[in-house]
């Protein structure tokens, strides 16, 4: 009989596929369930399970990632710092995202049309009928209707996007696409809670992370509750933001 899989082996398997190092307390339950059963499953299936759980976890919780992982330096958000470079890889999760290439009002109109089941193609108004899955309920809290093919394709080509990133210590910092990063975009293409590895050498300017394909690895995943709340509250948040903009005197009214 083969010797049981060790936490180190499993951890290795995960980091080799680009994931951050998990904490032992995250791995233990996975290994325990496995050794309780008659025959231990192979490493590949254990690591698949671990991967899935890790990607759906909230990495700011204390028992998920190993403290050996990188996290943001303390003064990361300091706007007085013109430019600095990250000295190590830092795993983060996306907790908010915004398309800064389009006005919020435009985005509100799109959401409204989606809610009414319409879509505008050129000048033509098209009725969008809910797909089978949506009719059967499930998790679809918005009416975003996306065919499986579309969901697999490169995420929304609009943008650039500004994202709010959170590291394992819970520190939050904004980042934006200096160059287009394919898998970043609005849900459901990318979900809230999506894990991203910021690579060593990634630049930070005036407290914002400059995202570009060379220094960003989008790992995927989502935090279910966060994602649901984000989607449900999106139109409301956009409306509030637009209102605030309008009320702010001077600036907007050039």
């Amino acid at each position: 009989m083969a010797s049981p899989i060790t936490p180190a082996q499993l951890s290795n398997a995960l980091t080799q596929s680009g994931l951050p190092t998990p904490s032992p307390s995250f791995l233990t339950p996975i290994l325990n369930t496995a050794s309780n059963s008659q025959r231990q499953p192979p490493l590949s299936s254990l690591s698949a399970t671990a991967r899935l759980r890790l990607l759906s976890a909230d990495i700011s919780a204390p028992t998920i990632l190993s403290p050996t992982n990188g996290s943001f330096p303390q003064n990361i958000s300091d706007v007085r710092v013109k430019e600095k470079v990250l000295g190590q890889d830092i795993p983060v999760q996306v907790i908010d995202i915004e398309d800064i290439g389009r006005s919020k009002w435009d985005q509100i109109l799109d959401l409204e049309a989606e809610r009414k089941g319409e879509r505008v193609k050129g000048r033509e108004v098209i009725r969008v009928l809910p797909t089978q899955e949506n009719e059967n309920g499930s998790t679809a809290s918005t009416q975003a209707i996306v065919s499986p093919a579309a969901a697999n394709a490169v995420v929304s080509n609009k943008g650039p996007f500004k994202v709010l990133l959170q590291d394992m210590k819970g520190q939050q910092v904004y980042g934006f696409e200096l160059k287009r990063v394919d898998k970043l975009g609005y849900p459901p293409g990318m979900n809230i809670g999506c894990k991203v590895m910021l690579k060593k050498g990634c630049k930070v300017a005036r407290g914002m992370v400059l995202l570009e394909p060379a220094c960003v690895v989008v790992l995927g995943g989502k935090i279910e509750a966060l994602d649901k709340g984000w989607r449900e509250g999106r139109e409301e948040r956009l409306r509030l933001a637009v209102k605030k903009n309008e009320e702010a005197p001077g600036r907007a009214n050039v």
């Binding site: 290439g101 919020k104 009002w105 000048r123 009725r127 903009n245 907007a252 050039v254």
Partner: protein
Amino acid sequence: MVTKILCVAEKPSIAKAVANHLSGGQVEIRNSGNQYIKNYCFDFNFGGRWGNCNVVMTSVVGHLTGAEFDQEHTRDWNYPPPETLFSAPVCITVDKDKEDIAANIKKEARFARALFIWTDCDREGEHIGAEVRSQALEGNANIQVKRARFNNIERAHIITAAKNPIDLDDRLVDAVSARIELDLRIGSAFTRMTTHAVRPLGGTLAYDERGKRRVVSYGPCQFPTLGFVVDRYFRVVNFIPEPFWGISVNHRRDNIDVHFSWKQVHLFDRAIVTILFERCIAAKIAKVIKVQEKPTKKWKPLPLTTVELQKNASRFLRMDSQRAMKVAEDLYNKGFISYPRTETDRFDKGMNLRVLVEKQTHDGRWGPFAQNLVNGGFQQPREGRNDDKAHPPIHPVAYCAPTALNGDEGKVYEFVTRRFLACCSEDAKGQQTVVEIEYGNENFSAHGLIVLERNYLDVYPYDKWTSSTILPKFTLGERFEPTEALMTEGKTGPPSYLTEPDLIALMDANGIGTDATMAEHIAKIQERNYAFTRPVGGGRGGNAMVEFIPSTLGVALVTGYDQMGFDISLSKPFLRKEMESRMKDICEGRITRRDMMRENIRQYKRVFEQSTERLDVLRAACRRYVLGIGA
């Protein structure tokens, strides 16, 4: 005995023109019993099996008959209740003021061997042809029925049409009769229901502006048309501006100021643009990453369709779509242009366009241009994707001196002719230069254009394409320090109210009405006081394009029906679009009139039933917008 043939056109002017062409001027004119209609009697050799015949050429004036409910359903709007109108008996009768026309056809048919129908070759024309046929058959059950196929009233074309008659297409007739019946049922049912619902609210909802009892008329095309107007209105009034920021780079070289525009145009986040701008300034030096010089073209326009004519008329000729169509029809009746109701934007390969160009060579304005085409400049027009298989694109069929036309006719004739000549000419050609630079992390580009050959633009002043300043020389890979970089700021602006070209384009894209009826629907919503127009930007003078603003009643109706919350609102184009596409199916033989009617009535009846239950929502909207209560 010589064979007698009865010919019937759609309007008196066509009857007269066709009679003149066929008779060569040898016509005896008799009274028909109707003061506007004459019977033209002459001889004509149709050739083939008809040979030399006595001809009586007369006409109708549009549709002969109308659809009405029976007595029981017209007397009282309350009883029987409106929903019975979906199945109540509908009678088709000759309109009261057209009985003498029908009698004339019956009488003239009596001793005729054949009836040749000369109505316009489109769906409505086919239906009018069928109305004529049924009158003729009443007068003479044995009469043979044929129809002439023509799309302009130029002499040779008319003679060819007379010698090659075809059969009436009953599928088109069915499609139109289905639409007439559906419009009657649906229109009456919803009109009565809506009127009942709002009258008790009092004020202007009980009695209209002229002191008459208010009628809130519903039409299956008008409502979606109004829906577009109201939808845009709300987009304008609800609009909230937002600030955005950008980066602009300028460079002076060889005494030329070159403006480089930002690839990202602008972004809605000041902090981010500030960071990007700072990085540009810090980089100091820009690098040329692309220099491209390539030939470019401005394509000549597509052959002219009705919708395009209407859009361009309000854009360039300052004529609303209804007026433009009226004028175009007059020009057609006089034999100057081809049939102006067409969806086709490609000329048939077999058509001799050069001959048509040649007819224009004597004009003082575009004659030399046409002469140039005749002398070898002629190019086959571009081909669009639409072909209604009935009519060619709108084009001039005969030359007409400007003095022979009144103001508006002259403008439309000029537009049609210039458009046609442009189609037969060549694309405009130019040289485009693009210089792209990388500056900081951002890309910027400058564009230059030199127009080399104007070609079609010389005859078609409605399109603009002009050279920009010439760009100085930039070399790939070269580095330079831009003279100036600026962070710019702006804010988004509201959309504008719908103009007529916008509205026509929306109706066209959404299948509301046909090219033949769009102008009528637009006129209807104004006639009903659901919407009104004013010059764009509130400008003065009669020379500006107009925009559509809904009335309070218009807003109330659309909002009311929208807020009922059905999956298919009456103010949306979906139901009507479905009906129009089913009509096409009938025309092309894919479904029968019966099936189409059954399906459509079922759909509307369902919406009707749902609406009846939610009339409170409509009343609330009327109270709010029309009476100003609870706003």
